[in-house]
């Protein structure tokens, strides 16, 4: 029992930290923000799913993917297809030349629902697809690349190209995907109006709950064999390989898990914001999500959530008040986080704790403060 508890939450320190995060998300923020702002926070939290995946993939396994927007987008599009089909029932689309199909298809002279849209009439299938489609794509890509030992910069560039490919492909097939405008006008989920503030509260809490679940799940994975393997691989991959482990499959699994998390994030994004478009899939959002994880401290799961919230809040504040300065701030943030704080917020917290803990020790000589499970960051890339 004690062992499971330690693995799920990382001991008492972990429980306290997770509890603080959950309290901020589920009590402090809902009480202090109006529903418009809370909905924005909910939107940011969906990016935090991607950032969590990046912590596993980049921070722990040392593989930087610049294409996580692809998986976010795949999950989001799956959800949006279901909602769009529900919104385009024959009655509300009766002015179209073909009633019963999404409006953008009608505008593009498509008269029949394409076959790959058909299964998305079912909610269970859609919910499954949100997780499974990104995982399958990640699996295929992961096997193709990790088996051939593509890593480091090459992996980053290829995944970035994938983000470009998917956003261009969605853009170029307007009749099937909604094109550049994306899939818009999503109103109800099984007849339940997702735009009412009641629904937005519920969706916000669902997002928080799933996020905490994702953190616990990741924590559990990392505390086991996989976590040790990933660290070993990041620091000395050859030695792991020579010990007889199949290095690539551990990476493939992590890549798939990160992709599934991103897919869930994407689906929750669509539910809360009510649309999806290729602009959330391409190069820029994909690399911005990396900076969320980097600001939080690329090895810290909770840090990724705080990083996402902080950067996005900053983005909102800047772009509302000083739109010209935002890109300067963002660019400066990228540089500062890399050059000055490679461990991000988590590193700063760790530093403070190291400064403070000897001081506390002097006060209470008997007590031993646990040094938490976070590890110092070695250089992620060996020369």
């Amino acid at each position: 029992m004690k062992a499971i508890y330690n693995r799920l939450f990382g001991g008492t320190t972990g429980v306290v930290q997770l509890g603080i995060l959950a309290a901020i998300l589920m009590i402090v923020l809902p009480l202090s923000l109006d529903i418009f702002r809370l909905n924005l926070v909910g939107k940011y939290l969906t990016y935090a799913f991607v950032a969590l995946g990046l912590v596993l993939l980049w921070g722990k396994a040392g593989v930087l993917s610049l294409g996580q927007g692809v998986f976010f987008g795949l999950g989001g599009y799956c959800m949006a297809m279901f909602l769009k089909l529900e919104a385009s029932d024959p009655i509300s689309t009766k002015i179209q030349s073909t009633p019963g199909i999404p409006d953008f298809m009608d505008w593009n002279q498509i008269t029949q629902l394409p076959a790959f849209w058909m299964p998305f009439k079912s909610l269970p299938f859609t919910l499954l697809a949100v997780v499974v489609v990104p995982s399958i794509v990640a699996f295929v890509l992961g096997v193709a690349m990790f088996k051939r030992r593509v890593g480091g910069v090459y992996f980053a560039i290829i995944t970035q190209a994938l983000a470009l490919i998917l956003s261009l492909a969605i853009d170029g097939n307007q009749g099937y995907t909604g094109g550049r405008n994306g899939i818009t006008d999503l109103r109800t989920l099984l007849g339940w109006d997702i735009r009412s503030s009641h629904a937005q509260y519920l969706l916000y809490f669902t997002t928080c709950g799933l996020l905490v679940l994702a953190i616990v799940l990741s924590q559990w994975m990392l505390s086991g064999k996989l976590g040790k393997m990933l660290l070993a691989m990041r620091d000395r991959e050859d030695r792991v390989r020579f010990s007889g482990y199949d290095v690539s499959m551990f990476k493939v699994f992590t890549f798939c898990f990160a992709a599934a998390l991103s897919g869930v994030g994407g689906a929750l994004f669509v539910l809360q914001v009510g649309f999806i478009s290729p602009s959330l899939v391409g190069i820029v959002p994909s690399i911005e999500m990396v900076i969320f994880a980097a600001v939080g401290g690329r090895v810290s799961l909770l840090g990724a959530v705080y990083g996402t919230l902080l950067v996005n809040t900053g983005k909102s504040l800047f772009s509302e008040n000083f739109p010209q300065l935002w890109l300067f701030a963002m660019g400066g943030l990228f540089i500062a986080v890399v050059v000055l704080f490679p461990n991000g917020l988590a590193g700063v917290v760790e530093l403070i704790r190291k400064k403070v803990s000897p001081f506390l020790k002097n006060l209470r000589t008997s007590s031993t403060l646990p040094t938490s499970g976070s590890t110092p960051l070695p250089s992620p890339d060996k020369p």
Binding site: V153, I158, G172, N173, F334
Partner: protein
Amino acid sequence: MQSFAGFSLFSVLLLMALGLAIIFGQMGVVNLAHGEFMALGAYTVYLSSTVVHTYLPALAPYYFVIAIVIAFLVAGLTGWLVEWSLIRFLYKRPLDTLLATWGLSLIMQQSFRSIFGAREVTPTLPEWLMGSFKPSESIDIPINGVFVMGLTLALTLGIWLFMYRSRIGLQMRATVQNRVMSGAAGINTRLVDRFTFSLGCGIAGVAGAAFTTIGSTGPDSGSRYIVDTFLVVVFGGTASLMGTIASAFGIAQGQSILEFFLKGTMGKVAVLMVIVLVLMIRPQGLFASKIRS
């Protein structure tokens, strides 16, 4: 006509990739701000065009050649500064370089936007760059396309001579292949690094200057090309100048032929997918040098 479009795209891709082939191919620095250095070159030409037409209209027919040189110097100097202030701390961390240079590219983009405005600009081109050859009734070859092609050829030849026939080029290649050994042989490797980086940036500036003859320049024109540029270099196999040339040629021909058959962006999507597939099967690129890393 389609094959001419392919050649035109070839020279554009090769121009973009040459600088990166040095910075990424030779040094291994992932410079995501490479596109912005091209934009910097383009804006330099725009600025010189404005200055010349305002103060020295007599020089208008000739300024373009000088403007290209100035673009090279401005981009090269900026590259020198960037290497000194940022890149040199990150040589051991390529993935972090990637993030830092992305940040740099955002800052440069916003600077362009603040200084030159969000609208796209075009320099006033000299008369001799306008118009087209007409070798026969049906063929119509634009002069600016030929100019860009000629510039690309000259630049490629120049870089090849410099890299493989000059003393500094020898030092650059030696540093790339074995840094410690080169240092022991008396090469100032840090200086070579800085020089190599700023040379690559300067070449990007020339590329940007050449693009002003084909299209207009906006704050984000650089970022539009960055993925293509990287793919050209990776696809050709890094550290191989021939590979870069061959892959630029292949990608350009493929893309212009496919764009003829497929509508809109799907031609480009198809080309990108083929590149990614080839890279998955052959991660080292088409022409990999056989050096152990």
